[in-house]
Symmetry: C2
DNA sequence: TCCGAGTGTTGAAGCGTTTCGACAACATTA
DNA sequence: TAATGTTGTCGAAACGCTTCAACACTCGGA
């Protein structure tokens, strides 16, 4: 292994000088700087991460805590992950993967051994058992998701209530008066997952506000079950002319199910999805974006800020954005206003 | 931070003694051992990972290299990942996430800075640009997948050729004489991905061997495209009575497409999938298992073996296992033998 | 001419481990 | 009894980096 001493010798300077060239914490003459840089390049020098961590008590690594629970939509999850990793790298940080099975135990271990400087915790539930632990541990952490109490934490999330409401408003503006809601798999609700419940709440409240009749059902992630849920919604509310879908896995089967039940999208039933934009684009669905990349990026930026001692707000909510597409381009409004 | 010196002082021994208790590299009297253990517990001591890495030149971290290319089925990928992480933890190792965008550059960096002791590389292509790099770098590595030349490497993979063949044999034994093959999205073949091509090859060779007519087509991951592919297969070979599907994302739409074209599973068309067992179980499909967990586990075990200086075979192929389920339970055989 | 400020560089101490050689204390053998 | 192992413990020297205090210069200004 080539060390800083080797570089120093090769460049004819002291090790500390090389260090200062690297970190930029002191001014170095341009001549020396280029000389040192050249030696580094020539020798293929890379600072030893462990040694650096020891000297600075900073590992430049953050833990990414991924529970991998059933019911989470992995493609979406991976977008969070990629965005977070990319952002981390932009700040010269690496990412250590901590999965569910390691549990609280695992958090303690990596924090205690100074392996990581902070935590990025994904898929946070309303009352998450990791939250008290994170609060008590000194290490900075950022949560993607929103536990019941955010005091003393840093959380990032989409404003799911607003998202649910936004869907209703859009449909109401188009003249729809009977709207259905197709939710996540029922386990997700049983588990007390904040985002699912909040979307529902926002949806329901907005419907009340606008004087619109609404019905909601969960949907599992297979065709039969989606079909059953849609059928059930239609039976409950035969006049239903619009459907809000908050379930990525079910999306692929919604149009098919409606068709199987004799309804066409968008002419008989308009559909609004809450999902990543790409997915909606591909299926030509009007949608409220689930800005996975943006969330992952923001979360990591906040974590970096905290690592550098900057204070952060306990809760950052991203406003929902709706993109209109073919699935709500029905002629209902014209009919209604005709 | 509580250090080994603190523990030593608290227990009334030398730091080195504490270290020996921890590593077990020298015999320590039971009394001292319990005394030290008690102090460790009481003070909540965790050895500093960086310091340890510096002293031992072993980070006890492996890099997990995840390209996250389009077309890979993420649920399957995540099973590899979870299995690999779990296995790593069983050997007291942690896992650093390295994603595609970091490229070869990233591999060099983490290896050079002694951040990781080895690499677990996933989703390896036939001629992967990371392979020469891995060969030249000193660090041990294990690949999941199978590049064109495996000399000097350690690779783990399912025997996809055998898997393709196994499907044909099963169907042939049931009396089918006209078999279709529904493959991965076409990008996967364009990208020269080994597993897709090998499955096809195994399928084709077995069909020839058994004197069976076969047709193959790729399928994209949306309903319309699956329907189109299936229709095209049926048009090419109207007598087709069986279908082998090697495309997790398409699986959900296969039965629907066949039904839409007037064929029922399994009575008109038998279906065999190559996919993780759980997925097949859920859809009641006869399948050749894609043993993601087993592959991830094996790969990590091999990596650990290499890290400990044990030699490893360049190629470990897992034999395919077929589980019969409802989707091939047609009465064809009886008709055939009747 | 001398002083103070600023600039560029250095030597050495320290970060928290592991590990090697040394050394007591005790047990075993000749 | 002396020589020889064995066992358990210790002190000190690494490991490769950062950073602080100190030092040698140069440059203006008084």
């Amino acid at each position: 292994m080539v060390t800083i001493a080797d570089v120093a010798r090769h460049a004819g300077v002291a090790p500390s000088t090389v260090s200062y060239v690297l970190t930029g914490k002191r001014s170095i003459s341009p001549q020396t700087r280029t000389k040192v840089r050249e030696s580094i390049r020539l020798l293929g020098y890379h600072p030893h991460a462990g040694a650096r961590a020891l000297a600075t008590s900073r590992a430049n690594v953050v833990a990414l805590v991924l529970p991998l629970r059933p019911g989470v939509h992995l493609p979406v999850l991976m977008r969070f992950v990629t965005a977070a990793v990319t952002t981390a790298r932009r700040h010269d940080m690496d990412v250590l993967l901590v999965t569910a099975d390691q549990g609280a135990q695992g958090l303690r271990r990596v924090a205690g051994s100074a392996q990581v400087d902070g935590f990025l915790v994904m898929d946070v539930e309303l009352d998450d058992d990791r939250v008290p632990l994170l609060r008590q541990m000194g290490q900075p952490s950022v949560l993607i998701g929103r536990p019941a109490a955010v005091k003393g934490l840093t959380c990032v999330d989409l404003d799911f209530e607003a998202a649910g409401a936004r869907c209703v408003d859009h449909l109401a503006d188009l003249g729809h008066r009977y709207i259905g809601f197709l939710g996540a798999p029922s386990v997700v609700y049983q588990r007390n997952t904040g985002y699912a419940q909040r979307t529902m709440a926002g949806f329901g409240a907005a419907a009340m506000r606008r004087g619109i009749a609404s019905t909601a059902l969960p949907a599992e992630d297979d065709y039969e079950s989606v079909l059953a849920s849609v059928r059930s919604l239609l039976r409950t509310q035969p006049a239903m002319t619009a459907l809000v879908v908050h379930n990525e896995a079910a999306l692929g089967w919604v149009a098919g199910s409606l068709r199987a039940l004799g309804r066409r999208v968008p002419d008989d039933v308009a559909v609004v999805a809450i999902c990543p934009d790409e997915l909606a684009e591909q299926m030509q669905l009007t949608s409220v974006q689930l800005p996975a990349e943006e969330l992952g990026r923001q979360a990591m930026e906040l974590l970096v800020a905290r690592l550098n001692g900057h204070p952060t707000a306990p809760l950052t909510l991203l406003p929902p954005k709706l993109s209109g597409r073919a699935s709500t381009a029905s002629r209902l409004r014209h009919r209604g206003t005709a």
